[in-house]
Subunit: 428 residues, 2 copies
């Protein structure tokens, strides 16, 4: 009998292999995760819904059936804006308390088709926006885990599950992954279907993955795109890495700047060609564009809630982003979309010379529960539709994790994984 302490530290791939060779059952894995949650949840509060009996029953059902799929028996969490047929989905708001969707979102159905076990639903900020949920940073309960996919990052970081699904409209996967010290991935825009996932902004939303290894990210990515899994390529040609100091570089903590610069030097010493480049001041326009576009879209998406339950929306959201969005004209909204399109093309041009790009993932998690600090770190890449992996490689001055983003051109996610793994080996 393998001990729980070991089981919960396995990656998803290791877990699936252990189940396949009979070293452990699905039930044992699930019970190990549940025991960890039982111990740690009072402090971390990563879960919005978790029913241990239901989870054990699901694991036993897997053990009774024929093994199937590359994630057979692997427990995962899903952000609670993602519909699940057998668990409530509450979108981070009391308005939808106890809501039971009729079917699984595409990403949950694809996970289950691959044999994975939905352990529970992880905490999201209110409507995946700015008002925090209850989750704490597992490495320091006085600090935010980052949002909006707070519970997904915290649960993976705290060894409660090896995998979790999040979503990103600004930096909602990258930020909490960096703050909690896990691998985070946002795919090429449009690659993963969002059917059954609450539309936050709509034109900027993507799914994302939190995990504890690049291999797990790559494997789960293939599952969620719905294609045959392929191993991460081992034999890469010499990589040309663009080291990006974006226009907001001086707004980052000096310690973060130093960590990134030292990281770039280490990568160069590791044999990669590293070239500095910038995102110039023009990209600053995306901050206003993102605010207006996401506000405009979210205010319309939440029409039903505003008409029927306005008083149960947080003041922060209702009188902030939603009010701004409702007041934004179509002319401004469409001009902002056109601006995004122009700068997206420019981003693709400036990234073109590089196989991958190294860029900040933000400072360490601040003290307090603001779930969405430094949103400007993430906007250009999110609006640019390019895939990104956050690597948990640095520690900030308070000993908290500081991640680094590795980005690639659109549709080049598989090369991104191979490059990110090599860079991780150099920086870890």
């Amino acid at each position: 009998m393998v001990n729980d302490h070991l089981v919960i530290r396995w990656t998803a791939a290791e877990t699936a292999r252990a189940i396949e060779r009979g070293a452990v059952t699905c039930e044992q894995v699930t019970r190990a995760c549940l025991a960890r949650i039982d111990e740690r949840e009072p402090k971390v509060q990563a879960w919005q819904h978790l029913d241990p009996e239901q989870a054990v029953a699901a694991a036993r059902a897997l053990d009774r059936g024929a093994p199937r799929g590359p994630l057979f028996g692997v427990p995962f969490g899903a952000k609670d804006i993602i519909d699940s047929a057998d668990m409530p989905t509450e979108y981070g708001t009391p308005i939808h308390a106890g809501h039971r969707p009729a079917k699984d979102a595409a990403c949950i159905a694809l996970s289950r088709k691959a044999g994975a076990l939905l352990l529970g639903k992880t905490v999201t900020t209110e409507f995946a926006n700015i008002h925090p949920g209850k989750t704490r940073n597992p490495l320091d309960p006085a600090r935010t885990p980052g949002g909006s996919s707070s519970g997904s990052a915290a649960a993976v970081a705290d060894f409660m599950v090896p995998l979790a699904i999040g979503t990103q409209t600004t930096g909602s996967v990258t930020r909490p992954s960096s703050f909690c010290g896990v691998f985070g991935y946002r795919p090429t825009y449009g690659d993963m279907r969002t059917a059954g996932v609450m539309e936050a902004s709509g034109s900027l939303d993507t799914l994302g993955i939190m995990a504890r290894s690049i291999e797990d990210i790559a494997l789960y990515r293939d599952v969620l795109v719905g294609v045959r899994p392929e191993p991460v390529a081992a034999d890469l040609p010499a990589l040309h890495v663009g080291f990006c100091r974006p226009y907001y570089w001086s707004r980052l903590a000096a310690s973060t700047q130093n960590l990134l610069e030292e990281g770039a030097r280490r990568i160069a010493r590791g044999g990669m060609q590293v070239t500095d480049f910038a995102l110039d001041e023009e990209f600053r326009g995306l901050e206003q564009a993102h605010k207006l576009i996401s506000g405009f879209e979210m205010a319309r998406n939440l029409t039903w809630e505003l008409e029927h339950h306005a008083s149960r929306i947080s003041d922060q959201l209702r009188y902030g982003r939603l009010k701004d969005g409702l007041e934004c004209s179509y002319k401004t909204y469409s001009e902002m979309r056109a601006l995004c399109e122009r700068l997206r093309a420019k981003l693709h041009r400036v990234m073109e010379p590089y196989d991958v790009v190294l860029a900040p993932a933000g400072d360490e998690a601040p003290v307090g529960m603001d779930p969405v600090p430094h949103p400007w770190v993430y906007m250009a890449w999110t609006i640019g539709y390019v895939p990104t992996v956050t690597l948990p490689v640095f520690k900030g001055p308070s000993g908290m994790p500081v991640g680094v983003q590795v980005l690639a051109r659109r549709y080049d996610d598989r090369r991104l994984f191979a490059a990110a793994r090599r860079i991780y080996e150099l920086l870890k």
Copy 2:
């Protein structure tokens, strides 16, 4: 007391004005629509869900309350892939028979906020795809109404409601509008939120509107975008119209070609500058791209149904588009998306010289119930993200309606309405 025969022929704007000046109550309008449906529904079968008592109760509630919004008391239908909190939503499949969403889709909530009354849910093809629903063409029951928004177009054409919402992934608003002889509109891609609307393909889906006047299209468009309604501009500068004979021109019926060419001559005689242009053979590549992209995406969106209810999916869909989609590799899928992006930019370049573009909307509705004939007519415009209005101006050799598309550059929907109204006056 105004008589029902008159009431059902009013446009939405006329209906709202009549209610506002007290010429008629919301209840009288709703009862007139219900009487028309009672008479005609056995032949047309436009409705998937319609509860007359519920509709009358909703109308009475409006009459009791304070008038509100530009569509106060106007009945509308919504395609049954659009979630409604107080009516079933079944997505055109027995798998979801009786399904009750917890909240309204954004577009229904926005309609109700504007005072409109959801009369019922209109018939869709299975999952808004290729397998027909029960609806007949109201002008000839031996012919298809066109799909996938079959019931929406038929209900508006047959004077059952003045407005209906549809959706388009290929030509699912334009085609049935043309086949049934109503005004149809698909907005600039991304302008209307699809929260609460079943994701068909995802990357190509948009909402659309069916109505019986350009004014209604414009008014309802502003309501569904969620902005203050503005009247259709009356004073347009001289228009430069591009008359497009796309690469598939020779596949259209000779009669359709003649109608369009005569239309272009009439527009020129009406004082507009008309210039011929083509979509060259390169655009033919979009036919394969559309098939693979929509198949790839839909097959993943329907994972839950495929895993749990595969035998209740039509063979046509299951062994056709879904099978093709499941077999499509990511490499092919992403190449097809890149191709679409390149040709989208090319489409924008070739449309650039013109204020609006005149293009085919397809041949007249064929005999039989194939809901999706000549999909290649619509693909370039749909993939191109440009707004389109279909005008019901021609009759084909069988006396069935033949529409013409007027298209504009992205974000130029308001100019499109003004131009389409002027062109309609010249061609009607």
